[in-house]
């Protein structure tokens, strides 16, 4: 991992990229909502010290909310199908948080195993992820619970950290990162200084929710597919898709056809396991007819099933679902209660012994 000192600030970095004709995606305001968006002017890119994180994750640039995958036309008996074009122009996602960069390394597995989803893979290949370590967290952040830190390099092509004087240092973590530094060689200079142990990030870490024990959580989930707690947790859930749609690792989707006259598109759209329609059979049978079963699926998928399959937890602790839930159904709180019950059980067992 090479380290480079950035000779400028954030806005100048964005400006330099734009000047080189790069396609830059970065957090910017749309009204009062901070979202990733294409940057036309460097000043529109909101500086990382001014936000904890965006409302939506960056997944939509690799796995969009809606994306045509097949095109077709039909006229009487003449049917034609075509591949939809993959919108895979090279782009740079700037101002990411480490949790969002890490999310891609988690969902890479599902999009690439057995059958490779080229729509995902192509965009992923052509996207450079430039992260900025977190200078603050908020009450919802819990990345340290799932093996991350405010300055984790996982998934980033280039990870920026700050020294105590406010200078940015870039850690290049991949070839794409190196390429980007080379492109902007006039504003970067290689250095041997290292901020891996920057006290500033330790402080952020200290302010975060105390780490969860994901091993114990999984142990509980392994044993408790049926448990009255599921009803208790889900009794207040409204069954919307806020949590899933804001989540950087939720990757479930629907496939729908849309037509106009004699042609149409087949689209891959975000979908959410909290919707009753998600699993409803045409026969009327629904394997998950109740919100408690749907909520259980969400927690199980994140902390057990994905782990069973890919050996990874399907959560980066970004806290978006916690912030957005209309009824404050807080997944961190839910899985903490699970571990509490786990310890209780163990204590009881020990007493029996």
């Amino acid at each position: 991992m090479k380290i480079y000192k950035l000779k400028t600030g954030y806005t100048e970095l964005a400006a330099a990229l734009l000047k080189k004709g790069q396609n830059v995606i970065a957090p910017k305001f749309s009204g009062r909502t901070l979202l990733f968006g294409k940057i036309e002017k460097a000043e529109d890119a909101v500086e990382p010290e001014r936000y904890v994180n965006t409302v939506r994750s960056a997944k939509e640039f690799i796995f969009p909310a809606t994306e045509p995958v097949v095109e077709f036309s039909y006229k009487n008996k003449d049917v034609k199908v075509f591949d939809s074009l993959v919108q895979s122009d090279e782009k740079i996602i700037l101002g990411l948080r480490p949790c969002d960069a890490a999310a891609f390394t988690i969902i890479d597995d599902v999009f690439n195993y057995e059958y490779k989803d080229e729509f995902y893979a192509e965009k992923r290949k052509n996207t450079t992820l430039v992260s900025f370590s977190c200078e603050h967290s908020d009450e919802a952040c819990f990345c340290s619970s799932v093996g991350l830190r405010p300055d984790s390099p996982q998934g980033s092509d280039l990870l920026f950290k700050k020294d105590v004087h406010g200078n940015y240092f870039a850690y290049s973590c991949s070839e794409k990162g190196e390429k980007l530094v080379a492109l902007l060689k006039e504003i970067f200079e290689e250095t041997t200084e290292d901020f891996t142990e920057s006290p500033c990030y330790e402080e952020v870490l200290g302010h975060m929710r105390p780490p969860l024990d994901t091993v114990r959580i999984k142990e509980w989930l392994d044993k408790n597919f049926e448990n009255p707690l599921w009803d208790e947790f889900a009794s207040r859930c409204l069954g919307c898709g806020s949590c899933a749609f804001l989540c950087p690792t939720c990757h479930c989707f629907d496939i729908v056809d849309e037509t106009k006259y004699s042609s149409g598109l087949r689209r891959k759209n975000w979908d959410a396991c909290q919707f009753p329609l998600f699993t409803l059979h045409a026969s009327g049978h629904n394997p998950r007819p109740l919100q408690s079963k749907r909520y259980r699926q969400r927690v199980m998928h994140k902390f057990k099933y994905y782990n069973d399959r890919f050996n990874k937890t399907l959560c980066t602790g970004c806290g978006r679902c916690v912030r957005a839930c209309p009824v404050n159904l807080d997944i961190y709180q839910v899985v903490s209660e699970i571990t509490k019950e786990n310890s209780l059980e163990e204590t009881l067992n020990e007493q029996h012994l």
Binding site: Y74, C252, F278, T279, S283
Partner: protein
């Protein structure tokens, strides 16, 4: 690009009205290369599309030993199946597949086979039945128990007659009480009940079953009472699917994706799954 979502185009060569709401299509691939190279195994499924309406999931109902075409049977219940129902010979639909695992046919060599089907659940069994009949010498006794709600709900009627006439097949048909007609020459009774009367020996046997969930439930129970070990019983599961590729995340039962790890499971494997289907 290798687009995993792009279907092959397939022409409907034959349509057969199985029951008032169930049809069978015989399909051949438009692209000669695909038609030549396409292979599948009994028990695998596909995504069939009516362009403009979407895709629907069902098994391939024909045998892999019958080359040059595939067949599928479906009941018109949802948006896509209702659109497919209105298609005719010469119309073009989409097909993605084959997906999923398959019946462990090699493990069945030398064994007595007991097929237990209900209603349209005969479709995946039919693929395997013909596959086995086409390799008849590799298997022991073959018993087929098939039932439906009523006489008119029996699928593949010409084939039922053929199986009944074959000396190397022990064929038993039944309809639910009240579903019989005056000229019905089969049994009257629910499939699990008839199975019990039949009392097949578990010795060197494999039971393969598919049908409505309630039928499967009691068939599994009765097989177990008859002494069948759960490893001797095979069934196929269905769940709502979209991609069929292990990605879209809705067909999972616990960590098991029906589309990738299934749809064929032994009763032993089913017992290990959480009750989420």
């Amino acid at each position: 690009m290798n687009n995993i979502y792009k279907p092959y185009l397939a022409k409907i060569d034959m349509v057969r009205q199985e029951t008032p709401d169930t049809k069978t299509f015989r399909l051949s691939f438009m692209d000669p290369e695909t038609a030549e190279s396409f292979t599948f195994k009994a028990g695998q499924f596909g995504e069939y599309s009516s362009f403009g309406d979407g895709e629907s999931t069902f098994c391939i109902a024909s045998s892999p030993t019958r080359k040059g075409y595939i067949e599928c049977s479906f009941k018109a219940v949802g948006k896509v199946t209702n659109a497919l129902k209105d298609k005719d010979v010469g119309d073009i639909i989409g097909f993605r597949g084959p997906y999923g695992n398959s019946f462990p046919i090699e493990e069945m060599y030398g064994k007595n086979l007991l097929f237990i089907g209900g209603g349209i659940g005969l479709a995946p069994l039919r693929s395997l039945i013909w596959n086995c009949l086409d390799l008849r010498e590799k298997f022991g006794e073959i018993t087929i128990l098939y039932g439906a709600r009523s006489v008119q709900d029996l699928c593949y009627k010409p084939e039922l007659t053929e199986w009944a006439e074959r000396p190397d097949v022990n064929f038993v048909k039944t309809v639910d009480p009240g579903g019989e007609t005056s000229d019905w020459d089969g049994k009257v009774g629910f499939v699990p009940t008839v199975l019990k009367e039949l009392a097949p020996s578990p010795e060197g046997a494999v039971a393969i079953t598919c049908g409505p969930p309630i039928m499967i439930k009691f068939v599994l129970q009765n097989l177990s009472e008859l002494g069948f070990d759960s490893t001797q019983v095979v069934t196929t599961l269905e769940n709502r699917m979209k991609c069929g590729l292990g990605k879209c995340g809705r067909c999972n039962v616990g960590k098991t994706y029906v589309c990738i790890d299934g749809p064929v499971f032994t009763a032993r494997e089913l017992e290990a799954l959480p009750v989420d289907f």
